[in-house]
Structure formats: structure tokens, C-alpha cells
């Protein structure tokens, strides 16, 4: 299925912020994504769901150019970022990613983690970078932890720092790669709450997640990945409640059986 998800809230005349066409990515013999197409409108929040190994993480890593795609096109704001002549580092400053395992830099303070990109990539002076970073840390509720080292924080706090770090570049698109999967259950809420706020502020987001509650309540559309492509896409009430693809039905049944929906 190559038709993009259409949301009842989306404006049909608006240009897509992200267009993915016929994307393919394999590791050796192992094909992860085959002929995947997807469109995302500005200010949309898209939940990516699917079984482990269905390619959610690989898709997000391709969008951040952490992986080189094997075929197909990714356009951000109409510009082909899969063109080998694209400056990958410039694209990456416009597309933020938050990882499952936080990936904070353990040898730096929280504040240095957040200011690194401004100081080193954009050449902002330290004082200025720190002022912006403190705003960002206040935003995620962790201003008082600025001088702490990452390993002294809880998982939820680390993940919020990682989000602040990604936001400092003022990205036009944010990618979230199962950002709550490594968290203890009672810490999931604080991170999902932050994602919900970001969505309310109009950030365009792609959220790979196993949190079906979040997908249903916050996402504008839900995309179900299977066999390296989009198996089903649409508004959450449709995909999650009345799935038409048998693979989606099976996946949701397993989740319901596991008590996660």
C-alpha cells in the first residue's frame, strides 16, 4: 500500500513536510525496508507501530541519514535528502532524533550534552548556548539537573535531557525511536507527557512506539509497518479499532492479549 496516511485534521492543500517514496534498505541478505512510501504533513504526529524487526528503527535512522538507503527517495521540505550530494550534517540539524537508550554523552554534564551541538556545530558562544539550553531544560523540567552527570539521573530524566538536546537545534522534524521502551513503567508517563506537549506546540513528529494508548490519543495518524512496508495507515480510530489488513489484526490481537491496549 503506497497511499499516504490521510488525517481528517490535515489540510489537503498543504505541502508534505516529509515524502518517502519506494524506500529500500537491506543489511546484506536481510531486507528490512522494501518499497516503503509515506507522506507526513507539517505539524502532524505520526505513530509508527509494528512488530519488532518490522523496520521502525531502520526507517527513522534512514530519515536522519544515519543509514544510507539502498533505493528510493526521501524528501524533506521538497528537497531530496537521499541525494549523495546533500550535506548530511545540515540535514541532521533539521531532523532531531531521540533514541531508545538515550545515548547521552556520559563524560559531559547534562548542560554540556544539551549545548554541544550549538557550540560545536553552529559556533554559538558558550554563554549564549547555555542560556538557550537552560530554557530548554526548564521546558523539560530539569533545570536543576544542569550540572549533574547523565548517569546520576533516572531513565525518564535522561530521556527528557535527550529530547532537550535534540530540540536545541530547532529541528523541523522530530523522530522518536521507542523512547519509552527502556523506561520503568512509572517513568513512561513523564516522557509521553512531554511528547504530547510538543505535539500541541505543532512539532512534526514520527514516533515509533509500542504505547498504543499514546498512538490512539495523541497521534494524528497511525502507520502499521509489516514486511518492510506500510501495511496499513490512517487515523488511529480506524487503524487501531477496525484494521483491515490481517497482519494488523494479528498484531493488535497479540497486544490485546498481552494487556497492552
Amino acid at each position: 500500500m503506497t497511499a499516504g496516511p490521510t488525517s481528517p485534521r490535515s489540510d489537503p492543500t498543504a505541502a508534505d513536510l516529509l515524502e518517502i517514496e519506494h524506500l529500500r534498505k537491506a543489511y546484506g541478505e536481510h531486507v528490512i525496508l522494501r518499497d516503503l512510501s509515506l507522506r507526513v504533513l507539517p505539524h502532524q504526529c505520526v505513530a509508527l507501530i509494528g512488530a519488532s524487526g518490522s523496520g521502525k528503527s531502520t526507517l527513522l535512522r534512514c530519515l536522519n541519514l544515519l543509514e544510507t538507503v539502498d533505493d528510493g527517495v526521501i524528501r524533506l521540505d521538497g528537497v531530496d535528502i537521499t541525494d549523495p550530494r546533500t550535506k548530511a550534517d545540515q540535514v541532521r540539524t533539521r531532523v532531531g532524533i531521540v533514541f531508545q537508550a538515550f545515548n547521552l554523552f556520559p563524560h559531559m554534564s547534562v548542560l554540556d550534552n544539551v549545548t554541544l551541538a550549538s557550540r560545536v556545530v553552529h559556533g554559538v558562544r558558550r554563554a549564549e548556548a547555555e542560556a538557550v539550553a537552560m530554557d530548554m531544560l526548564r521546558r523539560v523540567g530539569l533545570a536543576e539537573k544542569a550540572r549533574a552527570t547523565p548517569d546520576s539521573l533516572s531513565g525518564g530524566q535522561q530521556q527528557r535531557v535527550a529530547i532537550a538536546r535534540a530540540l536545541v537545534n530547532k529541528p523541523v522534524l522530530m523522530l522518536f525511536d521507542e523512547v519509552t521502551s527502556a523506561l520503568d513503567p512509572e517513568l513512561v508517563g513523564e516522557v509521553l507527557g512531554l511528547l504530547t506537549e510538543l505535539k500541541a506546540e505543532g512539532m512534526t513528529m514520527l514516533v515509533a512506539t509500542h504505547e498504543m494508548g499514546f498512538a490512539r490519543q495523541v497521534a494524528d495518524s497511525v502507520v502499521f509497518l509489516a514486511d518492510g512496508g506500510v501495511a496499513e495507515a490512517g487515523p488511529p480510530e480506524q487503524v487501531l479499532a477496525e484494521p483491515t489488513d490481517p497482519r494488523t489484526q494479528r498484531f493488535l490481537r497479540r497486544i490485546i492479549d498481552a494487556g497492552r491496549l
Partner: protein, 291 residues
């Protein structure tokens, strides 16, 4: 330790806990006592057996002659100062070169093949050659070529030999350290828009350096004593060992060697303890910082 330290919440150990603590204290005292006694016994037995060997009087005369030792101590200590300066200068150069070499070996892409290949050959060769041989080849071989613009100073060639050999070792240590940093750290840095070079500079190398600090210090201890090998290049630079050699040859008494050995130990043992301390401290912190 005797008075329980006051906890911030006003906790005072229960009677049961007090009993446990006093039991543990008595066990510790007992262990200390046993260790002390057994050490004394071993020392006495070993000392007695050595002192009662047939050659002991002659051995003491030629290796442990206190009067002669006092006489030569000053010169040997002065020689040791040369070793120390040599060690410091070499180590600084070694660290810089080793880092460059490690970076060269981790370059990816076909353009860099010659650089990669050259650095691989370099490390293979200099890790494989005995240091003494390198020193001979450089210290005697190169000056004998009589190339006028090259220094003929044996000390400089000795230093170059040490630098070439130890750079190869340290480069491998650093490279291993850089490769041990989890790829997710690079991914995180690249995702923020840092270039490859900036990722190395701000994220990978600082973490790698911390991780390989113990092996690097280990190599430094080794370098410290290997500076003594420049004695093989002879005069006019008297390091501790060469000085001891000359003293021993003029007097047929080996006490100067023992003095030189003790002086090296005075330098290397604190260094080794420091290395252990760093390693322990690191094992303790990196457990929490695992990525």
C-alpha cells in the same frame, strides 16, 4: 569508626548492628595480626637463608657496599634526572603521535587506503622489533651514514628510538579505546549534526582516553624504565645505568647497579600504584556510565 557516624536522618545502628560491627572489627584485627606474623616469619626465614649462603660475605661486599654506594649515589641520581627528563619529553611526543596514528588507522574510505596501510605497517614493524635493536640501528646506524643535516647526537637518536617504538604501542591502545566506544555514541553525535571530525574530537576521543588511561599509564611506567636502554648508546650522555656501569667497571664493585635499580623503583612503584588507583576509580565510575 568507633563512634557511629551520625546519619542525616538521625539513624543510630541497632544493638544487633552494633554487635555485627564489633564482631567484624575483631575479625579484622585478627586477620591483621596473622598477616603481620606470617610476613615477619617469611622475612626472617628468607633473610636468614640468604645470609647463611657460602658466598654471602663476598656478595655483600660487591653488591651491597654501603660506603661505596654513598660515594657514587650523587652521580647516579644525576644520571636518573636525565632518564626522567627523557621520559617526560618522549611521553609528550608519543601521545601526540600515537593519537594521530590511531586516527589514521581508523580512517574509512578508499582514498585513505595508503595512509591506513602505512600506519598498519608502521605499528607492525615497531611493535615487533626489540627496542634495543631499534636503538642500535638508529644510534649507531644513522650517524654512520654521515648525512650532514641529520643530528649525530646519540641522545636524540635514543629518544627517537623510544618514541618510534612506544608510539606504535600507544597507538594500538588508543585505537582499541576508540573502537570500544559504543556506536550509539557516534550515532547520537552525528544525529546532532556533528561532523566525523567533531564527533571524534568531542565525543569519542574524550571517552576513549578515559577508558584507556590505565593501559596508557602502564606503558608510561614501562617507558620510564626503558629510558635506561639509552645507556647502550654510550657516552657522552650519562644516564643512571650508564653511570652505574662506568662506576662498576672502574671499581669492580656492583653496588652502583643496585643503587640505580633502587632509584628506578623509587620512580616506578608510585607510578604503578597511581595506575592501579586510576584503574580502580575508573572501574567504579564506568559501571554506572555504561552505555
Amino acid at each position: 569508626m568507633n563512634a557511629p557516624t551520625r546519619a542525616p536522618d538521625g539513624w543510630v545502628p541497632s544493638d544487633l548492628q552494633q554487635q555485627r560491627l564489633s564482631y567484624r572489627r575483631s575479625r579484622n584485627r585478627r586477620s591483621g595480626l596473622i598477616a603481620g606474623i606470617s610476613t615477619v616469619v617469611v622475612a626472617v626465614v628468607v633473610g636468614w637463608s640468604v645470609a647463611h649462603t657460602q658466598g654471602w660475605p663476598r656478595f655483600r661486599e660487591s653488591f651491597l657496599n654501603v660506603d661505596y654506594g654513598r660515594q657514587v649515589f650523587g652521580d647516579i641520581a644525576k644520571g636518573l634526572w636525565l632518564n626522567v627528563r627523557l621520559m617526560v619529553v618522549c611521553e609528550v611526543v608519543i601521545l601526540v603521535l600515537a593519537l594521530l596514528l590511531a586516527l589514521a588507522r581508523s580512517l574509512r574510505g578508499p582514498v585513505f587506503f595508503p595512509i591506513r596501510a602505512l600506519s598498519t605497517v608502521y605499528t607492525d614493524v615497531f611493535r615487533g622489533l626489540p627496542l634495543l635493536l631499534v636503538l642500535y640501528l638508529l644510534g649507531f646506524g644513522v650517524p654512520s651514514l654521515r648525512i650532514t643535516w641529520l643530528p649525530s647526537n646519540s641522545l636524540i637518536w635514543g629518544a627517537i628510538g623510544l618514541i618510534l617504538t612506544y608510539t606504535a604501542y600507544n597507538a594500538e591502545v588508543l585505537r582499541a579505546g576508540m573502537e570500544s566506544i559504543h556506536p550509539s555514541q557516534r550515532a547520537a553525535a552525528r544525529s546532532l549534526g556533528l561532523t566525523h571530525a567533531k564527533t571524534m574530537r568531542h565525543v569519542v576521543i574524550p571517552q576513549a582516553f578515559r577508558r584507556v588511561m590505565p593501559p596508557l599509564l602502564n606503558d608510561l611506567v614501562s617507558l620510564q624504565k626503558d629510558t635506561a636502554l639509552i645507556a647502550a648508546l654510550g657516552t657522552p650522555y650519562y644516564d643512571a645505568v650508564l653511570q652505574a656501569q662506568i662506576d662498576a667497571q672502574t671499581s669492580y664493585n656492583y653496588t652502583p647497579y643496585v643503587i640505580a635499580g633502587l632509584l628506578f623503583l623509587v620512580l616506578t612503584i608510585p607510578m604503578t600504584r597511581f595506575t592501579d588507583w586510576i584503574a580502580r576509580k575508573q572501574g567504579w565510575t564506568s559501571a554506572g556510565a555504561a552505555v
